[in-house]
Symmetry: C2
Subunit: 445 residues, 2 copies
């Protein structure tokens, strides 16, 4: 028979079992963190009506979206989790309790140009808090707390959450007489870190700002003590004042929420490109890898679902690009090789052909919660141990005629080579005790 | 602005938060069960090259598949998890340890005619054990054990795993002189339960079997004591003998694996429509709802990845259609309403405007593993408690000026109405103790 070459599409992550176990550990941490903060899980379809997904429309989205027909239905794969959330909240408005706090971890699709580290199918892990008409600023303060907790649980210590308020930028633009060009100016400011002050100043001048005004704006935005700089401008513009009040309210709550001072800073150059942010905005950088950009971003928006409903639904949220984050951790060698990736805690190795005692031992270990596999193939004993080694299984439970007769197993710690003859129940206790040392249980879960 | 009607496509399940929490509980049980049996997690893309997915081709698949182009790439959404597994094992053959035991829980897509209880996007939860050249029959015996464990953990007690061996059917066909029509006869036998003995007999006669032979076949297949009936035929056909030996080997191991006698039976009418099964086959019925058909099926195949590789890769596996199973459980009212679906264990209710002590209490509870939300909106206290009620949160932690001054919270059990003034640490202990009573922890996890 002619063979078809097995291949996985470029831009679609597919991992070997070891790295997959690490990826699953990352997902588990995010799930646990989001649940700890009282977010409810949601799971919306990956396929939606193209009309619904493209309600907002717009350049990049239209270009990158996977859109297709089935019968006479115009379909598309979701490109983020925010639009499906907007649809969901608009559809189910009457049945939800507000503030509605949901998390969703799911695959999204963007047909971007293929390049290293860019994915066309990738996981996003989002949280959002949606208010009905209004939403207190204290919700915004929780976002850095969640980021901090998630990264800490992932073992990432050296990061910085940078935050700003879009109202501050808008207020400054108004003060400096930037009128209709505000959106373009915002876009330029957002590029400050990428292209440098000089080039941004040039763009601002092109946009019609006088060189003095441009300099003044950039001086404020890059000030060493942004809060003091802003204080000096207090009372001059209402929008600026409102933004400053929000930023103060958020930062005042951070110590109580357990976010240490070194984990965040106010950075007035953060704008977030997306045009729906209207208040607080967040970006998160790995201090040792600034070149990878923000690994977790988000902010406050006024109107989640304006395309679907006239209900006013303000919200605040954040999104982690999990596939990309995992790729970066892997590329930078930051994943802990010590993390157990074996599919089981114990491999039962039968010495003879009789399988009955082997499967009874497996059942006994499993009943105690030990992840157990029986090696059932008729291979030489050496091959059976080689299999355990290849999978990095911590324990082998050897069972032959003697063990069957005496109701025991030969439990071998494959990391130390030590072997003891014990009952299956004793074996389970030994394995679980060792497991407890390897993986620190999260309290209360 | 003109609004677009928010809607979810027909045949795509999307749940409200409460049912979603129940669905997640089902998924968690399946994941834990599969891991307990030493299966490693896999996550392949939902989108693959159409050429790779359709290697086998064939009528229903081609008709139902979601296929589309992006640029000049011919793509399709996966319609099961078996073809992606075949591709994966063929691609990564040199890097996997065999037997390769993987589980995958993921969405698959079939553009079926929309009807109640039929889904176009649905979760499958599959396990497979893949051998390199050969695979011991003991692996087949584990399949009913996994089904049994999963259903038991889901709280489903009244089910029956029906099993057969395709070699027995093939042997019987050979004995009765069914030659080239074997596949068609198999198809007819597979319908026995659905259309009844008479109609199957008519089909068999149409296929060229004499009425006596057809009767003889159907007598054997529906015999009250199939093993005894088969024993009487031992030695007459090699294929039949091989099938009988496999069935005996599997059933002999079931008691040791902890599968109780009442949970399974040999049923020679089980054939499984799919033409790639070559040995043991399994179906699982809910005893009280036989009309919903098999909720978990699988079997042994000789050649997983013949379309991609000349490596001989026999395997045995099973698949649970989770979305459909959940739909059935929901429809039949079998889901436990007592299962907590609240997104948090405690809702912090601030009495005044000061949020500092409120967020400190939240941080303290979360540090102990209590899923905690702060209700930050400026509403009346009554509205805050109504919110807790709507979400069925078990505890409210009321914090006002007195509590902030004394470092306490007013912890109210919302199920009993009892309130105590305690420190956050004491509150956490009370909440976690109550939680332990509600959800029985799985040992060792």
């Amino acid at each position: 028979m002619e063979k078809i070459k097995p291949r996985t599409l470029s831009g679609f992550m597919e991992l070997l079992p070891g790295p997959q176990a690490q990826m699953d550990a990352v997902m588990r941490v995010l799930r646990e963190t989001y649940e700890l903060y009282g977010f409810t899980a949601l799971d919306t379809p990956a396929v939606e009506s193209a009309q619904v997904l493209l309600a907002k429309g717009g350049g990049e989205t239209e270009k990158q979206i996977y859109r297709f027909s089935k019968g006479d239905t115009d379909l598309a794969l979701r490109f983020d989790l925010t639009v499906p959330l907007a649809k969901y909240v608009a559809m189910n408005y009457g049945q939800l309790a507000f503030p509605f706090r949901r998390y969703q971890i799911g695959k999204v699709y963007r047909g971007e140009r293929a390049q290293r580290g860019r994915f066309r199918e990738f996981y996003q892990a989002d949280i959002d808090v949606i208010g009905d008409g209004a939403l207190d600023i204290a919700n915004d303060a929780e976002m850095p707390a969640v980021i901090c907790e998630a990264l800490r649980r992932l073992g990432i210590e050296r990061f910085c959450i940078r935050m700003n308020d879009r109202k501050i930028l808008n207020g400054l633009f108004a003060l400096l007489g930037v009128g209709e060009q505000a959106a373009a100016v915002l876009g330029a400011v957002d590029k400050l870190e990428k292209i440098g002050r000089e080039k941004v100043a040039a763009i601002l001048t092109e946009l019609g700002m006088g060189p003095d005004k441009a300099d003044q704006l950039l001086d404020i935005l890059t000030s060493a003590d942004p809060m003091a700089t802003l204080d000096a401008l207090a009372g001059k513009n209402e929008t600026l004042d409102a933004g400053l009040a929000e930023l103060r309210a958020v930062t005042a709550l951070l110590p109580g929420l357990g976010v240490p001072d070194h984990a965040w800073r106010v950075d007035l150059t953060i704008a977030r490109g997306l045009d729906y942010y209207t208040g607080m905005v967040y970006e998160t950088q790995l201090l040792d890898y600034p070149e990878v950009g923000s690994i977790c971003s988000g902010g406050r928006y006024d109107d989640l679902a304006g395309y679907y409903t006239s209900q006013k639904l303000p919200g605040v949220g954040l999104s982690i690009g999990v596939t990309r984050l995992f790729y970066i951790l892997q590329e930078q060698g930051l994943l802990n090789e010590e993390l157990p990736t074996a599919p089981c805690d114990a491999l039962i190795i039968p010495l003879g052909e009789d399988m009955d005692w082997a499967v009874r031992c497996a059942a006994a270990l499993r009943a105690e919660g030990v992840r157990t596999q029986v090696y059932a193939e008729r291979k030489k004993v050496k091959a059976k141990f080689a299999y355990a080694d290849k999978l990095a299984v911590p324990y082998a439970a050897v069972v032959g005629g003697d063990e069957a007769a005496s109701g025991t197993v030969g439990l071998k710690d494959l990391r130390t080579g030590q072997q003891v003859t014990v009952t299956p129940a004793e074996a389970a206790a030994i394995i679980l005790k060792s497991k407890a040392r390897l993986v620190k249980p999260v309290k209360g879960s």
